[in-house]
Structures are given as C-alpha cells and as structure tokens.
C-alpha cells in the first residue's frame, strides 16, 4: 500500500490560458476569460456570457497532429491537449514502465458533434463517423490513445459538476490500494448548445460577469476547459527521484439527497464532503490554509456552500475564493481545473482573488478573499458540487 499520492505533472486549457503557465499568469493578474460567445451560434448570444477556449477545433487538431478527417469531439480534443501537457510536465518517457491508468470526467461528451449532425446523419453518411463519439466514454478512449495508454484501466466518471474531483479521488484510491502505480486523472467539457440551453431553462445563467458570493449575484457563466494531473505512488517517486508538485492528501464524496438540482439550504452534502476529506487527510480545520470554493455564483450554490463552510470551519474560516469568475463554470472539468489552481497556489504561496465581488451577502458574515494575497500555504481545500446532490471535496498539500 502506498501512503502518499504524489502529483508530478499538470496540464490545463481554459478560457484564461492554453497551458499551466498562461493560466497561472491570468490568475495572478486578475485577468478573466469571460466574454460574449463566438464559437457557437445561439439565439441566447446577447443574454449570456461564457468562458471560451481560444483555439478552434482545426487549430486543436493541428496541435495534436491528427488528420482533419477524424471523429474527435471538442471534449476529446481539449482533453487530449491538456492530458499531453500533464504527461510531459511529469517527465514520463515510457508510459508502460509502470501500471498506468486514466480516469477522466465529462458531462458533455460528444454532444457538440451530435447537436451539429443530429438530423444530418439521417440524410447522408458524410459525418457518420461521429455517431460513435457521442457517448461519454469515447473522449476518454481518445485521450488514452493520444497518451499511448493501452491494455490498461481506463474509465470515465460523470457526476455533473463534481465529476473531475471524483476522478481525482478514484485515482488516489487506486494508487493507495496498490491497484495502479500511476494514474492520469482529470476532466474535459467543451461548450455546447445543449448545456447552454439546459442551464438557460434552469434560469441560472447570468447575463453579465458572474459574481461569486456577492449578494446581488445573478447566476453562472458557462465555461469550457480540460485539465489533467499525473498521480504517482511513493515507489515511483523514490525509484525515479522525481520532483513532486504536491500531494492529494484527502478526499470525500457525499450526497445531499435533497433535490434533483438544488443544494439543501444548509449544505448537508457539502458539509459531509468537507468533513470526510479532513478525516481521510487526518487534518483538522486549523490545518487548511485556503479554500478554493465551488462558488458558481448561483443564488442557491453560494448560500448553501457558504453555510456549509461555516458549519465546518466556524465563523472565521481560512481565506476562500471562487475562481469561476475567471473561467466560468467548466462543469465536469471544474474539479480538475481547480485542482491545478490549488496546486499552483501551494507552489507559489498565493491566494487568488474572488473577482467581481461588490456586496456582502446578508445571510452570513464570511467574505471571500478579494485581492491577490501572498501567504505561506501548506494545505488547500477544493470543493466541487453537482446536480443529483453530488458533493466532493479534495485536499491538496505541499508535503506528504
């Protein structure tokens, strides 16, 4: 049994950057990636704002070196790019030198292509190759192929907006139990008309920049992104004398069992998830130096999460902020995006500002961190909550 779960590589692509360095720079400069939508033609274009990745699909194909006649969904393309950065960052030369797996997360899967060709498929066979890339597991299979992971444990998690946090959790458990020596974990979700309209029907999309934990918050901005982390066992770290970026120290998943989409008023599931994660990490609330909150800027989430933070940490929690104002809500990828941001926070001893905040919420007295703050960080907590009452917390630490 491996005690530690080391993070040795990270890769990311989001609205605020095409790699880890660009994302970090935007975070410290307070540069958000939210704009009007440009890549999808929707009647809602003047009513919503989104976090789009700069690259077009054909640019992504070129970067990956795949032919223009392929059947990658955009979820697969951005996922493959982020996963490749993570693997290269981890300095992996031979993928098959250790028992390696891939756990990815997605909610959109290949919906971007399905919505494009839904009726067209019936008329001619030009795009039939995309039919099989609709299901959620397909993008993961493609990413595995791009990384050269074959004859291996590869799976996909889809628990709405907590998906990637759960992928990290499963990866950590597979290493701890000795099932795998190395596992690449993360998530990928591209923008689609399907999700835009879905969230529109729930009336939780803001028509302007999202404002997490603000009294007058109007809802979320959708974002597209992918991020992956390489997790390795103590044995590999020792054998290869590898540089460790941080550790997955604790994790917890719980269900709110309250409502299909809404969080309970007092954040029961969120509270349980944070408590479980602390227990697994064998830490107390005093050990947490920063909370990267889920903070979607919906009326419901921020109230429920804020109350849960108070339930766990009391009225004086450590600094907390949501980075959704930078990237938008990247759904199934969010947990991995924010895992990368948490590890970057640990490495650089900085806490990111909660952008766009103006007015204190009246239900409680806790206020997010509003300015970039330098602080010696040892341990960071990251929250991710989703539909179906799915609540997840992961704790990252600098030292084992």
């Amino acid at each position: 049994m491996s005690k530690g779960v080391a993070i040795t590589g990270m890769g990311i692509i989001s609205a605020i950057g095409n790699n880890v360095a660009e994302n970090f720079q935007s975070l410290v400069e307070g540069k958000k990636g939210i704009s009007r939508i440009s890549k999808i033609d929707t009647i809602h274009k003047d009513d919503i704002m989104v976090g789009e990745i700069a690259y077009t699909n054909s640019e992504l194909e070129q970067l990956l070196g795949i032919s223009s006649v392929n059947n990658y969904s955009r979820t697969g393309l951005i996922g493959a790019l982020a996963a490749k950065e993570a693997v290269s960052n981890a300095g992996i030369k031979d993928m098959n030198a250790y028992k390696t797996g891939l756990i990815s997360a997605t909610s959109v899967g290949g919906m971007d292509m399905t919505e494009k060709y839904y009726y067209n498929y019936l008329e001619n066979d030009t795009n039939h190759r995309y039919i099989e890339s609709h299901h959620a597991g397909d993008s993961t299979q493609k990413i595995a192929e791009q990384l050269g992971i074959d004859k291996s444990l590869v799976t996909t998690i889809s628990t709405a907006c907590s998906s990637a946090a759960n992928a990290i959790m499963l990866g950590a458990r597979l290493i701890k139990s000795g099932q795998l020596d190395r596992v690449i974990v993360g998530g990928s979700d591209c923008m689609s008309k399907f999700t835009i309209n879905g969230f529109k029907t729930l009336m939780i999309l803001s028509d302007t920049y999202n404002t997490p934990f603000d009294e007058n918050r109007k809802g979320l901005n959708l974002g597209e992104a992918a991020a992956f982390l390489v997790l390795e066992s103590d044995a590999i770290i020792k054998a290869e004398n590898k540089t460790v970026l941080g550790y997955v120290k604790g994790y917890g998943n719980a269900n709110d069992a309250f409502h299909q989409t809404a969080s309970s008023d007092h954040g029961d599931g969120a509270t349980l998830a944070m408590e479980k994660a602390l227990e697994v990490a064998n830490l107390t609330v005093k050990d947490i130096d920063y909370i990267n909150a889920h903070g979607t800027a919906t009326g419901n989430n921020d109230l429920s999460e804020g109350r849960a933070i108070i339930r766990v940490f009391g009225n004086t929690p450590p600094e907390f902020s949501s980075t959704k104002a930078y990237t938008g809500h990247t759904l199934a990828a969010a947990g991995a995006i924010e895992a990368v941001y948490s590890v970057l926070a640990l490495q650089n001893n900085v806490i990111y500002p909660n952008l766009n905040f103006k007015t204190q919420m009246k239900e409680f007295n806790i206020t997010p961190q509003l300015k970039l703050k330098e602080k010696k960080l040892k341990t960071v907590m990251s929250n991710s909550f989703g539909f179906g009452g799915n609540c997840s917390t992961v704790i990252f630490s600098k030292e084992q």
């Binding site: 029907t201 729930l202 009336m203 409502h259 299909q260 989409t261 809404a262």
Partner: protein, 85 residues
Amino acid sequence: MEALKQELKENIIEQLNLEDMTVADIADDDMLFGDGLALDSIDALELIVMLDKNYGIKLTDPKEGRTIFESINTMAAYIQEHRSK
C-alpha cells in the same frame, strides 16, 4: 375566465405529468406549491415556459413566479392581464 382556468388545469396536469389527477381534483384556490399540489421549483420553471409558449408572457426572474403561481385563480388573473397571445 372559467375557460382559461379549465385550460390551465388541463395543461398543468399534462405538462407536469400529474398522472393520478384530474381537472376536478384541482380547486381554483388550491395552493399549487407547498401544502396543496406540492409542486416544486422545477415545476415552477415548467410553468414559466408554459406562460411564454401559450400566452406570450416572459418572466426573467423565477422569483416572480412565486406570487403568480400561488393558485389557479392568481395564475388566471395574471394571464388575463398580461397575455399577448
């Protein structure tokens, strides 16, 4: 007005899949949410779409629905006043 109320009851039963109910089971002043029909926040969103689709009434804030959807009476009165189709 009576015809509108009847129509609303039929549409609510159909749209919200209240399979075990008939029009006769819904009184004009029954609470639609809470103790009466026990509809929830997702039903409220469904009703908002119904207002838009059938009567050309657009609500932008789901909170507005709370008073409008109190009962069949309040709904009918609101529609009567604001309908554009």
